[in-house]
């Protein structure tokens, strides 16, 4: 992220102004105002402490002319500027842009990072999964070898708990967070709850009536289609 005057850039810009010619502090305030089309009106309280610090660092020096301090760049200051010429260039470009342009760049930057990450991770997950499969076929035992089907009670419990929790949490979210959304809010909550209940019933029925692989598969299909319906609601 690069805000126009983030990360010590104002300091750098002051050096640049002094590189052009020696100036009074007041001149520099006026110049900054001009260059920022009146949007940036730095106060004396912003500029003078920075000039003092630059002087302590040996980058600028001053002499008093007609009762006013005139600041000029030292050799060390010029060296620092030369070293950071790339930054100056970037800064000058930034100065011409509005907050909106900066934010747009941020957005594009984040978006491309996100896109890259997703692609990378998809590929990485596929690789790991393939490597896993080769060595772990024993995990894919047929159901009848498992015996007492210990998973069913857990399936039932986990699903109904997860859905109850998420549905409850979301009802609360909506009521407190987006309550005034009115119709949409109510419709979404109602749909969410109704679907959750449907799903829970479906799972219960599946577990009660036919505790076999088909039932689990059916339950999963139901979950997926329910969620697809939910997703359809929001997107």
């Amino acid at each position: 992220m690069t805000s126009v005057f983030g990360h010590g850039r104002l300091r750098l810009y002051l050096l640049k102004l002094l590189d052009e010619e020696p100036r009074h502090g007041y001149d520099m305030i006026r110049l900054l105002e001009d260059r920022f089309m009146g949007v940036y009106a730095p106060s004396a309280g912003t500029i003078y402490p920075r000039l003092n610090r630059l002087e302590e660092e040996g980058l600028v020096s001053h002499e008093v002319v007609e009762g006013k301090k005139v600041y000029r760049l030292t050799d060390a200051g010029r060296a620092e500027l030369a070293e950071r010429s790339d930054e100056i260039e970037a800064l000058e470009q930034d100065i011409d842009r509005s907050v909106r342009d900066l934010a747009r760049e941020v957005r594009e930057d984040v978006r491309s990072s996100v896109r890259n990450l997703r692609e990378e991770l998809k590929a990485a997950a596929r690789e790991v999964r393939d490597a896993d499969r080769e060595g772990r076929d024993d995990h894919r035992r047929p159901w009848d070898e498992i015996g007492d089907i210990p998973g069913w009670a857990e399936t039932k419990e986990a699903m109904s708990k997860a859905f109850k929790e998420s549905s409850k949490a979301w009802r609360t979210e909506w009521e407190h967070g987006f309550g005034g959304e009115g119709k949409t809010a109510k419709r979404v909550v109602r749909e969410l709850v109704r679907n959750t209940e449907l799903l829970r019933d479906e799972v219960r029925r599946a577990v009660k009536t036919h505790a076999d692989e088909t039932a689990l598969r059916e339950a999963n299909t139901t979950i997926e289609s329910t969620l697809a319906r939910l997703r359809g609601l929001f997107r």
Partner: protein
């Protein structure tokens, strides 16, 4: 207190901002940190004017009558709707009363087209609070706490070192370079976090995908839960953490050695420790897949 009503594109320069509150319906809002002067730029507007107020350093930007929309503490959606229904009935029977006016005021924004594109520059230390309905948002460079509530607007975050608390219904959250604690709660929005060094990341979703690439702090924690969304966490290969991933039917993949697997009907799990086990990684899903991946060191760094 200073107050401006903006009806068209305009820039408002400000002296000092200690806190920012934004309330928008549709459109877009940028919040960018600056060492320079704080300011509000209104680029586009449709519908009602936007109010900008500066009350002792608290900068508010947006629709003032939207208060009730996001700050419903006691009134639930149901009560609000009933109230509206009553008010309408009242209007038909008794004409225009003060009660009807109150409801009309509260719901006047709903159904009206209210769209604005706003950019705001504030000092990095400011806490930020964004409440948007459909509007998308960008927040960058802020060190203060950031709180976002969005119904369907997409939220983009960059370089935040304060804590982030985001709630959306269907809005996605995309973020990079986060250093503070992150909490994201959504129904169907996706979460994607790149380059996070947060000490705590919490994500909860029904159907959104949760994806995070992070350097887990020593004793840092990651807690992600989803119903059907996939959860993918990529960590530095040297990460130390206790791992506890459980899913009902979601597939599990891990690129880390030394984790025990469970794979039986109704339960899949990945347990154990990686590295020095100082941090904690906890993932829960019903049908969502879980991927735990080590970040590969780039080829040029290996050489």
């Amino acid at each position: 207190m200073e107050r401006w009503m903006l009806e068209g594109p305009e820039t408002i320069p400000l002296d000092q901002v200690d806190k920012l509150v934004v309330k928008l319906v549709a459109g877009h809002v940028d919040v960018v940190a600056t060492d320079g002067p704080p300011r509000v730029e209104l680029h586009e507007i449709e519908g009602a004017p936007i109010a900008v107020t500066d009350a002792d350093g608290v900068l508010s930007v947006g629709y003032e009558d939207l208060g009730g929309v996001f700050d419903f503490d006691s009134t639930t959606a149901k009560e609000a709707l009933q109230g509206l229904g009553n008010a309408l009935r009242d209007l038909l029977q008794n004409g225009w009363t003060s009660e009807t006016q109150e409801w009309a005021r509260r719901f006047s924004w709903f159904g009206n087209k209210r769209r604005a594109v706003v950019s705001i520059a504030i000092p990095p230390r400011c806490p930020v609070r964004l409440n948007v309905v459909y509007a998308s948002a960008v927040v960058a460079g802020i060190d203060g706490e950031t709180k976002v509530k969005s119904v369907s607007g997409e939220v983009t975050l960059d370089s935040l070192s304060g804590s982030v608390d985001a709630h959306t219904v269907s809005g996605d959250l995309e973020a990079q370079v986060l250093d503070g604690r992150l909490q994201f709660v959504t129904v169907s929005g996706d979460l994607t976090v790149v380059q996070a060094t947060s000490d705590r990341i919490q994500g909860r979703t029904v159907s959104g995908d949760l994806t995070a690439d992070l350097d887990l702090a020593t004793d840092g924690s990651v807690e992600l839960s989803s119903v059907s969304g996939d959860v993918t966490v990529r960590l530095a290969p040297t990460t130390g953490a206790k791992v506890d991933c459980v899913s009902t039917s979601g597939s599990m993949t891990s690129g880390f050695d030394g984790l025990a697997r469970e794979h039986k009907p109704g339960k899949r799990a990945l347990h154990g420790s990686i590295g020095d086990a100082s941090g904690r990684i906890e993932v829960r899903t019903v049908s969502g897949a879980v991927h735990l991946l080590p970040r590969r060191v780039p080829a040029k760094e290996q050489a």
